[in-house]
């Protein structure tokens, strides 16, 4: 593990012991409070001067602190802005917090330090009403431009029943229609001049190439893209707000739907975070079952990626083969969990049930089949000359740019950096497994496909190890916050019966604190940053999804290329819109 004290000492040396206040969190990530006027200097020094340097802005979010009860040793403030930094070379984490006061507080932008801060800061404004000064184009990102209020503020209603009845009179309808009118100025583009013959091409939100409700506004000259803007938020469901209204357990099904191709993989970061908060140890068997399902879902998601990628560059057939194989994998998931795409199978402290009889046979057959089929897919898709002509060198990305834009997962590894959280910071038992980290060379669309293909092979390797080394033992923790008391005991004394009643009707009460659970998900790094105020519900649930920074890179990647390349790049980004918008 990295030397947290060393980083802290370097910061204190630069900014004095008063400016930097450390906070201890349940996840053990170095967390420091800095005064608002110093935040920029601290962040910039963390990026460039500190050793190891924190080159990646991993996440940027805020917490509305106005209703929080338990905040020991923390500076007072109405809102806290949280910068989450990641150092890939030093394998270190850092969380920088800034306390802001006032109804609509303001903070300086960091877009010049990290380009991917642009969307995160828009989200700050959109969700919390925190103004970001110096931001190149602050706008509503996820909510429509006419939305009133900032949804993640505590006073904003979380349910329709808390709001006034919905009405849409004619004049308001007309007004809303008018906001849909496209004006380049609204998007930070110069207004069209008299001699400009660029065409504004509106790609999506309903377009066969966008894999969902993504809108890309392109300014094209002929078929060459001069510039592009991503308009997101069509799939926004307020998953983070829902976290504040669901008990710790009942929120698990919502996580499944964040990256809806990743299924149970999404449960993992959430339950890891809760387990950090509550200090729950997960038994070995449960860990391996979780890894089994997570890797199965990695394969499921990557199969969809390969199929749709091939389809987007015009190959109509591979997708059928890959979806057939995906069906087989989903059959196994169904046999284990009873559900297919969204099993909601992981629980705080373990999984919902033990593996069914005969799972070894099912999984063994599938591994053997898919190993053969992957070779076929490589022949049919990756070695196809037209496919290579369409993807090699298109949308290339170097390591430095990838890190600066917050790219993780296959996107990052395709640039040639072998950084996999499962290897760097083994979580949930991954240290017991043998696997390689596939990397690409130049980070283009083709390399991304190759990395995905190779990752499926590595996942199969992990699955085979799960198959051979499934430990015996309980499938869930005996921790009182994770499981109701045993029936035999509830029948004996009233105290356990009361506990049983409470933990079933209210759900567990998780001790106050903050923790983040992270996994190497199907599309990159996923993390859930949970703030508990000592209640039956989370005080703040922050979902860091991998697709969000990836989609943000699209304009940068496709500038100067053709419309057909844009589609190839979009397909190679491997994003899920539900994941971008949450």
């Amino acid at each position: 593990m990295p030397d947290q004290e060393g980083i802290l000492a370097q910061l204190k040396q630069r900014f004095g012991p008063d400016g930097i206040v450390r906070q201890l969190t349940a996840d053990g990530i170095l967390t420091v409070w800095v005064p608002p006027e110093q935040v920029r200097a601290v962040l910039s020094s963390l990026r460039d001067d500190v050793s190891p340097p924190f080159r990646m802005l991993y996440d940027l979010t805020a917490v509305d602190e106005r209703q929080r009860q338990v905040r020991p040793d923390q500076p007072p403030g109405d809102f806290t802005v949280v910068y989450r930094l990641l150092s890939l070379e030093g394998n270190a984490d850092c969380r920088v917090k800034v306390a802001l006061t006032g109804e609509t507080p303001a903070i300086g932008t960091v877009t010049d330090l990290w380009p991917n801060a642009a969307w995160y800061e828009c989200e700050l404004w959109d969700m919390f009403g925190i103004r970001v000064e110096g931001h190149p184009h602050l706008r509503r990102l996820l909510m429509p431009p006419w939305w009133e209020g900032h949804p993640l503020r505590k006073e904003h209603p979380a349910r329709a029943t808390e709001m006034a009845p919905f009405r849409l009179p004619e004049e308001r309808m007309a007004l809303l229609q008018e906001t849909l009118e496209f004006r380049p100025e609204d998007w930070g583009w110069p207004p069209p001049g008299p001699d400009q013959d660029d065409l504004y091409l509106n790609l999506g939100p309903h377009h066969p190439g966008t894999h969902g409700v993504l809108r890309v506004i392109c300014r094209v000259c002929g078929e060459t893209i001069r510039d592009a803007i991503c308009d997101i938020g069509f799939h926004h469901r307020g998953a983070e707000k829902m976290g504040e209204r669901q008990s710790w357990h009942t929120y698990i099904p919502y996580t499944d739907r964040v990256d809806y191709l990743g299924g149970a993989m999404n449960n993992l970061p959430y339950v890891l975070a809760v387990e950090h908060l509550a200090g729950i140890e997960v038994p070995e068997r449960a860990q391996v079952i979780r890894i089994l399902l997570a890797e199965l879902f990695r394969i499921i998601s990557h199969l969809v990626f390969m199929g749709t990628f091939a389809q987007d560059v015009g190959m109509m057939s591979p997708v059928f083969y890959m979806f057939t194989d995906r069906e087989r994998a989903l059959d196994i998931v169904e046999n284990i969990t009873g559900a297919r795409m969204h099993p909601s199978w992981f629980r705080i402290g373990g999984v919902a049930q033990d593996l069914p009889k005969g799972w070894e046979q099912l999984l063994g057959d599938f591994i053997e089949l898919l190993e053969r089929r992957l070779n076929e897919y490589e022949q049919a898709v990756l070695r196809n000359r037209i496919f290579r002509a369409r993807t090699v060198g298109v949308g290339a990305l170097d390591v430095g740019t990838a890190i600066a834009w917050g790219a993780t997962g296959p996107m990052l590894r395709s640039t040639g950096l072998a950084w996999d959280l499962r290897r760097q910071r083994p979580y949930g038992g991954y240290d017991q497994f043998e696997f390689d980290i596939p990397i690409g060379k130049q980070g283009d669309c083709y390399d991304r496909a190759v990395v995905h293909m190779e990752e499926m092979r590595q996942s199969l390797r992990i699955l085979r190890q799960c198959l051979q080394n499934m430990p015996a033992g309980p499938y869930k923790s005996d921790h009182p916050l994770a499981t109701p008391p045993r029936r035999a005991q509830t029948l004996r004394d009233i105290e356990t019966l009361i506990h049983h009643f409470l933990s079933v009707s209210w759900g567990p009460v998780i001790p106050p604190g903050e923790a983040e659970g992270r996994v190497e998900g199907t599309k990159g790094l996923y993390s859930y940053y949970l703030v508990s105020d000592g209640g039956t519900m989370s005080y703040r649930t922050r979902i860091r999804a991998a697709s969000f920074p990836h989609v943000q890179m699209l304009p940068m990647l496709c500038r100067g290329l053709m419309v057909a390349d844009l589609i190839a790049i979009l397909a190679s980004l491997d994003f899920v819109l539900a994941d971008v918008d949450r």
Binding site: V313, G314, S317, F320, N384, I386, M562, V563, A564, I567
Partner: protein, 363 residues
């Protein structure tokens, strides 16, 4: 008995019938001439309709086979009625014209596209001495076909422009660029065959290959390059994968026919399958001996020539379908690069080789 002789017998019978009613022979000859052309025109359309009916079903079954699924199974035994059901569906659909579209151009586009496709069928030699017009193609079949074939893109451009949709427009522009470019290698390949047969008549080209399969053009080594060029540019001319960029579903939504529904869309659809059959027919005529039997001339099996022609065309169609469901799509610049940097020079090489072969007296 060839189609031609059947035509002559029917004509003679009609003239006799009309003469019996007291119509002057000159007038009845004129009437029959007009009638012949009308029947010919109708046959062209019918050929396209039949081609579309068969090929849509075939395409769905072939793609199903390639994609390890069944394809249509519900309509009739093994889904054989699927195409008819599709036609009924398309007929019943509402005809939508976008509010800001140019109604006239929007309507003319598909009609033009289909008309041009049908027109090219006039010169196809279905059997010994038999085009649909009932007579030999006046010696300029190749020229006519090439001229008419390149007009198809007018329908695409008109439809794409008239839709007032950016995707349609992009598709139309792509289509125009592509069809103009691939016309050239196609014609160069055609010229090789014309030099070989020393005639511009499609029927004459078939006559030139008279004999068993050994005498056909595709077995002559100097024809191998033209065969490849013609097949590739033929696939490009009919906008099928890997050259389907005017439609390019994942990029341009549906390309030039994005805004078409119902029968207008069906006309585009019909014409595309008509063009598919046309390219296969022309390919068979140019390189596979047209209506000739592979076992020698006259055909020892005594099958009508049209059967052989259709069998050969079907083979070509299946190959084109196989390619469509296997390969990805080229990008616009790669597509144009392929035409201008590779295929057109290759076409000139082929033409040069052909000339050399003639001068050396090997042909």
């Amino acid at each position: 008995m060839s189609i031609h002789t059947i035509g002559v017998i029917i004509k003679d019978w009609l003239i006799g019938l009309l003469a019996g009613w007291g119509v002057p022979v000159e007038l009845s000859r004129l009437l029959i001439e007009v009638l012949t052309w009308a029947v010919g025109a109708a046959l062209c359309i019918i050929a396209i309709m039949l081609a579309a009916l068969v090929f849509i079903y075939l395409e769905r079954k072939v793609s199903g086979y390639i994609q390890s699924r069944l394809g249509p199974t519900r309509c009739g035994p093994v889904g054989i009625l699927q195409s008819f059901v599709d036609v009924i569906k398309l007929l019943l659909k509402e005809d939508i014209v976008p509010a800001e579209a140019d109604r006239v151009l929007h309507t003319i586009g598909p009609i033009l596209f289909l008309a041009v496709s049908a027109l090219a069928y006039v010169v196809v030699p279905w059997d010994e001495g038999g085009t649909v017009a009932g007579k030999v193609d006046a010696g300029v079949g190749v020229l006519f076909m090439a001229a008419v074939g390149s007009m198809g893109l007018i329908g695409i451009v008109v439809g794409g422009w008239g839709s007032n949709n950016k995707w349609s427009l992009l598709g139309a522009i792509r289509g125009a660029a592509q069809m103009v470019s691939y016309e050239i290698p196609m014609l160069l390949a055609l010229m090789c065959v014309v030099l070989q047969a020393e005639t511009l008549s499609l029927a004459g080209i078939v006559e030139d290959q008279k004999g068993s399969i050994i005498a056909w053009n595709f077995l002559r080594p100097w024809m191998w390059l033209p065969v490849v060029l013609f097949l590739i540019s033929g696939v490009a001319e009919i906008n099928r994968t890997p050259f389907d960029i005017p439609e390019a579903e994942s990029e341009l939504v549906s390309g030039f026919h994005t805004e078409y529904t119902g029968m207008k869309f069906a006309l585009f659809f019909l014409a595309e399958y008509g063009n598919l059959l046309l390219v296969a027919l022309i390919f068979s005529v140019l390189f596979l001996g047209g209506w000739l039997s592979p076992f020698g001339y006259p055909d020892p099996l005594r099958l009508p020539g049209i059967i052989w022609l259709l069998a050969k065309s079907l083979l070509i169609v299946l190959i084109v379908m196989w390619v469509r469901w296997t390969l990805p799509r080229l990008r616009v610049d790669q597509l144009m690069g392929l035409a201008w940097k590779l295929m057109i020079p290759a076409g000139f090489v082929a033409l040069g080789v052909m000339c050399a072969v003639i001068m050396l007296g090997w042909a």
